[in-house]
Amino acid sequence: MSTATLDSKPTVPDEIPSFTATIIVRRFDPDKDAEPYWQDFDVVMYGTDRVLDALHKIKWEQDGSLSFRRSCAHGVCGSDAMRINGRNRLACKTLLKDLDISKPIYIEAIKGLPLEKDLIVDMDPFFESYKAINPFLISNTPSKDGKERKQSPVERARFDDTTKCILCAACTSSCPVFWTDGQYFGPAAIVNAHRFIFDSRDEGAQVRLDILNDKEGVWRCRTTFNCSEACPRGIQVTQAIAEVKQAVMRGRA
């Protein structure tokens, strides 16, 4: 090793290592196809690439008709939940190198919501359930002196986990109960109800508990833990549902 001089250039490897990944996508075009079908693509990718990059490469270089949702590409907006090798994941948060790239990678739309095209599903039923649990602060007492409503760090920590939800639907569409019973509120709606039920500033807990005590509410949960394993934000979804169940039974938060 010699001391760095002005003419010593930084070393650049001749070639950044790449690999060929086979991506098999479940395609469906309502205008042309009666049934969805699998289509395979070979793409040259790098170790730093994510599943979303592979989908982009297919769309931009091989088949422009491939349809999927994405927006932020950084795990914030919750647009690109899909079933990757049989598990719900965000395409933008799943590195190819974390999958077994010696085998093909299967990608299909999330299950239980109406399929619209390729990887796009109709999210309306999902957001209807979300709206139904009143996902906003309910308070009948005016705040003190018209200022902000104060909360201690302990009170805030009580529902911290469920504030992280990005409404991607990975949890709800991983739930076997939701697949067979689309009326079930689903984990995401319960997570967002939990966020307000256990908020010390909120006074609408009883309203939400009554809604979730419904036949299609929390009691549909069969604790399969698929939701907790699918959640890209690491929310302990089944735990949150269990806490709401307890609150319903005790009749208060």
């Binding site: 693509f41 088949d63 079933r83 093909p104 299950k111 076997p176 698929n226």
Partner: protein, 146 residues
């Protein structure tokens, strides 16, 4: 539909498939973990036990109608086929009971959800211990000397 398997640039041009089309024509099975499979097994054993109970209530109620018919039915239970059925019943009830306790703990124990995976493997271990104790004896009853 072989024409649909190739990655095509335009929808009209057709190329030979690069690799063989996947065998799985339907969607993939969701790859859940312990939680999901314990639920599947719980359902299957639950439904099996339900049908057993149905038959069991019918055969027991026979004794009120005609004790002879009841005895005849009970005697058929001593055949090896029924013995195997009995074994299957104990296997099913064993899992359903132990996993039922696990589910109660998940719902009512504050850290139950956190330890659900560990509890699943404890259930499986206890279940195997139970079967190791029961199945050989049962087989001796069915096939061997009494």
């Amino acid at each position: 539909m072989p024409d649909k398997t190739a990655g095509t640039l335009a929808t009209t041009s057709r190329r030979a498939p690069v690799i063989k089309p996947p065998k799985r024509l339907v969607g993939t099975v969701y790859r859940g973990r312990e939680g999901m499979w314990s639920w599947v097994l719980h359902r299957i054993t639950g439904v099996a036990i339900y049908f057993f109970l149905l038959v069991h209530i019918l055969d027991t109620s026979l004794v009120r109608l005609s004790p002879e018919a009841y005895n005849a039915v009970i005697n058929t239970y001593k055949t090896p086929i029924m013995g195997l059925g009995e074994t299957a019943l104990v296997v099913a009830i064993g899992f359903h009971a132990l996993n039922g306790l696990r589910i109660i703990l998940i719902d009512f124990w504050s850290v139950g959800a956190k330890y659900q995976r560990l509890m699943f493997w404890i259930v499986i271990a206890l279940w195997i211990v139970l079967l190791v104790g029961f199945v050989p004896r049962q087989f001796m009853h069915i096939f061997g000397a009494h």
